[in-house]
Symmetry: C2
Subunit: 203 residues, 2 copies
Amino acid sequence: MNFSSKILEESVTALSSLPGIGRKSALRLALHLIQDNSKKAMKISAALTRLSTDICKCKTCCNISDSDICNICSNTIRKSNVICVVETARDVMAIEDTNQFNGRYHVLGGVISPLDGIGPADLSIDLLLNRIKNESTNELIMAISPTIEGETTIYYISKLMKDMDIKVSVIARGVAFGGDLEYADELTLGRSIVSRIPYNVQS
Amino acid sequence: MNFSSKILEESVTALSSLPGIGRKSALRLALHLIQDNSKKAMKISAALTRLSTDICKCKTCCNISDSDICNICSNTIRKSNVICVVETARDVMAIEDTNQFNGRYHVLGGVISPLDGIGPADLSIDLLLNRIKNESTNELIMAISPTIEGETTIYYISKLMKDMDIKVSVIARGVAFGGDLEYADELTLGRSIVSRIPYNVQS
């Protein structure tokens, strides 16, 4: 690309470093920002500066937070005895959006994946163990993706819980609600037959 | 979406104001920037600030530029008697990428479109007339999209040139090179038959 402006070229290079944005898309965004009169570029710039400097991790649960302790951990109305263990902060948001969970979270920051060089020490498992000792936890809900790495992580953590008298549960897996059986993958469909659950007619 | 951080929410709102980026994509980008260790957020932020404050329009041709006169207008090696008239700065880049044009440009900043309330006075046509008077221009190449609005603009400008002894040409229209005739639209294919050109066998 022949840029008539170095500043434009810098912006395109910077924007195209984002995932899913190529140089052509980045150029389209940069030209949009130049033509825009509402100071959108300055607003985005200010927001990204704050994102880079002011955001931190909650010291209790490792979730993304504006302060040392996040809103969820500091909320006294939420149950403190149930911890939902998730992979990333994005998963916390996804579960919060369901309005079905009223306990605390713990963000591992990934899953055990020897091929990627990620071992238990790279995750916030030690912090989780400390929490369980200090808080009156009696249940861990493992809301981790049912991949090989996810299953390994669930197994590893549940083994640590064995001597601690903590109930460990895993979120239900099976065919999606509203989904067509025809399009469910074989593994999911097969497993959902093996792990079928009793159906109770409500009177 | 339930955000655990106000700063994150602000960034998502800012990023989703960009064209083609929804709130889910914006969240994905923001979380990527938080996890990134290479200070990508700060780099983008700095680039966008410069984009907002330091970029300007070339006073001669209205192209995007870092200084009052752009690289192309200040380049004495380029022909000064041919001006290629385009709609936007993006079109200048597209033509420069072809390496087929060695003259100057003039960016109109749009096309005449009464439905959108854009008349000749909203475009940089006056500036173009001044250039033609001051520079030794003898050809205008109209590289404007062959839409109704584009054709109107070409007609308007070429009418102004009538008394000025300036040659006006339009970029060739027809089926694209490498394109399949089968997939060419009817209008383009029909027009390319009507305006067929003599084929000379090179000896």
